[in-house]
């Protein structure tokens, strides 16, 4: 039997040379006439080790990395096809502490299987959740999702089951499932990793959602910056349809569900659910007023479930293993697991799926290994461009939606961008305002005008012009944006700005005394 060699096809792995390594392995296999099957898997999420090549051995999969094309010959010479020792040996993949310490529920198959092989998906527990769902009525599925405690993983953390219940109870025959795959936050890539590494999980989750609420079609709104993910989704949808998992009668159940992929066009605001719905309808991505809630009047005015990729991709495991199984992970009102993304200036960047409740310090040091530059970590931005900058003094707080909110921070989509002590926090505050100005949809004044004024005020503060007065103005402006904006873009841009100012006043040319006066 041929030896299986895994070379990831994940975009991150490719960005550091995985395609070149795959070609070099293929050439070497041909030159040596070896009996090898090369599988392009997703990534295991240990991105500092990419390209990470794995070989299947009787003991389990053995990893080598980071592999360059120059290493390929010597790997064969070291008999890596039998798990031989090499300077890049990492041992058994699943014994690498970074991986072994994780709780992979949503990401159980990512990096393990060929992403577009429906047979491998089924062999690893795929479509078990759908089978159970097909034997239940919609209300029972909604109840199970509610019972699991699953909350929206896109950032707002709204209980998924409650949203589903609203759509389930809404009158009308036409309803939609919309997956928000417009993962625009810097420091996040978990949606992309699922779509590229295990797209069937998302397809299965959306299908279950459709059955639960009585929707027969769904849309996935995927970023234009994610061409690999779009291709993987389109291929997987074709395979799912061919195998009878999508279409007029899902595996003979008589229940219909069809999926469409729509490409976004580079507007950050379309990650906001109502702007995304506008975009899907062929309009500019302008935020809608709420109410009406999308659950009652969403896409094309019909009742619509709008969930993020990870939320929907977590549904299959909940259905397969039961609400209680999922609920047993986590703390407080934050149940289940979250895929954390350790990014930026971090030694061991990657994806860590863990139950809620571990501390930031565990993530940054036990998993992350500290900064990539070896300098002290000064600040971590959590939850994307609208998330607060968290200083070292708060690294011991547990990751939990409520604990974060109590400190004026947010877990958001679980992305953590690490900065070392060379960062200038005044510049980061200015950037937050600049980003808001670039991406504002323009509908409401606090966001549209406030962000531009914010950049100007920050420029004056950085230049040392009437500093105390301008800091007071900045706080006032932030209050206005926070209270008066229509959506989270204008409403949360003050979080990074104010957290930078409060925790790092020295970067704004202030002493802690000035800051207490200003506040």
């Amino acid at each position: 039997m041929s030896v299986r060699v895994y070379v990831p096809c994940d975009m991150s792995a490719i960005s550091v040379g995985a395609d070149d390594v795959a070609r070099a392995v293929t050439a070497e296999v041909a030159a040596r006439n070896a009996d090898v099957k090369i599988v392009r898997n997703g990534t295991r999420g240990m991105l500092w080790l990419e390209p990470m090549v794995e070989v299947e051995t009787p003991e389990g999969r053995v990893a080598y990395g980071p592999v360059t094309t120059a290493d390929v010959k010597s790997l064969f010479d070291a008999d890596f096809l039998k798990g031989g020792k090499h300077k890049l040996s990492l041992g058994l993949t699943e014994a690498i502490p970074y991986f072994a310490k994780q709780e992979r529920l949503t990401f159980a198959r990512v990096g393990v299987i060929d992403p577009v092989s429906i047979d491998e998906y089924r062999a690893h527990g795929g479509y078990e959740g759908l089978k159970k769902a097909l034997a239940m009525d919609g209300a029972a599925i909604v109840a199970a999702v509610t019972e699991s405690g699953l909350r929206g993983r896109g950032g707002a953390a709204f209980p998924a089951g409650i949203k589903w219940k609203t759509v389930h109870g809404a009158p009308g025959h036409t309803k939609y499932i919309v997956c928000n795959a417009d993962e625009g936050d810097s420091g996040t890539f978990s949606d992309r990793m699922i779509m590229e590494g295990d797209p069937f999980t998302l397809i299965e989750g959306m299908t279950i959602a459709g059955i639960a609420v009585g929707a027969t079609s769904g849309y996935i709104y995927v970023r234009s910056e994610y061409p690999h993910a779009e291709r993987a989704l389109l291929r997987a949808i074709d395979f799912a349809r061919a195998a009878g998992y999508l279409g007029e009668s899902i595996i003979g159940s008589g229940k219909k569900f069809e999926l469409h992929v729509r490409r976004a066009a580079g507007a950050y605001i379309c990650g906001e659910e109502t702007a995304m719905l506008e975009s899907l309808e062929g309009k500019r991505g302008i935020v809608r007023f709420k109410p009406p809630l999308p659950a009652l009047q969403g896409l094309f005015g019909k009742p619509t479930v709008v969930n993020n990729v990870i939320t929907l991709a977590s549904v299959p495991v909940i259905m397969a293993k039961g609400a209680q199984f999922y609920k047993d992970f986590g703390m407080g009102r934050s149940r289940g697991t979250l895929p954390f993304q350790l990014t930026g200036n971090i030694k061991h960047g990657g994806l860590v799926e863990k139950a809620f409740g571990l501390t930031l310090r565990e993530l940054l040091y036990d998993f992350g290994g500290g900064s990539a530059t070896g300098r002290p970590i000064r600040a971590v931005q959590i939850g994307g461009p609208l998330g607060a900058y968290v200083p070292e003094s708060q690294f011991d707080m547990p990751v939990d939606y409520e604990a974060f909110a109590a400190k004026g921070a947010m877990v958001g989509h679980g992305g953590m961008v690490v900065f070392d002590d060379t960062v200038d926090m005044a510049k980061m505050a200015r950037y937050a305002m600049e980003f808001c100005a670039i991406e504002s949809c323009g509908k409401c004044t606090p966001c549209r005008i406030g962000s531009t004024r914010g950049v100007e005020v920050m420029d004056k503060i950085i230049a040392g012009e009437a500093r105390d007065a301008n800091v007071t103005l900045l706080r006032d402006l932030s209050e206005t944006m926070l209270a008066g904006s229509l959506c989270a873009l204008g409403g949360m841009t003050p979080f990074p700005v104010m957290s930078a100012l409060d925790h790092f006043p020295e970067d704004f040319g202030l002493t802690p005394k000035n800051i207490s006066n200003a506040a």
């Binding site: 975009m11 991150s12 490719i14 960005s15 550091v16 991105l47 500092w48 990419e50 993962e183 625009g184 936050d185 810097s186 420091g187 996040t188 890539f189 992309r192 970023r223 234009s224 910056e225 994610y226 061409p227 690999h228 729509r262 490409r263 976004a264 066009a265 580079g266 507007a267 950050y268 975009s279 899907l280 309808e281 062929g282 309009k283 500019r284 991505g285 094309f300 993304q341 350790l342 990014t343 930026g344 200036n345 971090i346 960047g349 990657g350 994806l351 990539a372 931005q381 461009p385 992305g415 961008v417 690490v418 900065f419 070392d420 960062v423 980061m428 950037y431 980003f435 670039i438 991406e439």
Partner: protein, 158 residues
């Protein structure tokens, strides 16, 4: 540079691939830009008529989204990520290096017509920062030296 015939072909292929309703607008614009590299201004009325929209509505959509452009790009579009994770790993220095070495500002083209330089806000490659994207290909851990290699290979291919 697209000829008038190329433009008409791309337009008709895009219009005929989708139903004539407003929700088809983004897929149609993508199909045209995938084919031509941009959405020519003079076909806006055709798109509008096909979808029963006003020209203003179509123009509004094209200009709202950062991805769509109304003028032809250079041979290659090189996007440099300007978002926070890349900034934490030297992204600003890389952006400065890009504008200096290519002798163009962002949204501009190099004098030889080989490269259009664009900013992008996150490529989802944040653990391998800083990143750039050329066409559909993302490059991670891009040092200024690696940037120069990428540019040289693009110019070689041009």
């Amino acid at each position: 540079m697209a000829t008038a015939i190329d433009i008409q072909k791309a337009l008709h292929a895009a219009l005929s691939s989708m139903p004539d309703e407003q929700a088809s607008l983004l897929p149609i614009l993508h199909a045209i830009q995938d084919s031509l590299g941009y959405v020519p201004k003079d076909i806006v009325p055709d798109i509008a008529e096909h979808l029963h929209l006003s020209r203003a509505e179509v123009h509004g959509v094209i200009t709202f989204y950062h991805h769509f452009r109304q003028t032809p790009p250079a041979k290659h579009v090189l996007r440099v990520c300007r978002a926070e994770a890349c900034q934490s790993m030297g992204g600003n220095e890389l952006a400065d290096h890009a504008t200096r070495s290519l002798k163009t500002e962002f949204h501009g083209d190099t004098a030889d017509g080989a490269i259009t330089l664009e900013p992008v806000y996150c490529l989802g490659n944040c653990a391998c920062a800083p990143s750039v994207m050329v066409g559909d290909t993302v490059h991670g851990r891009v040092s200024p030296e690696r940037f120069d290699d990428i540019v040289a290979s693009l110019r070689g291919a041009a």
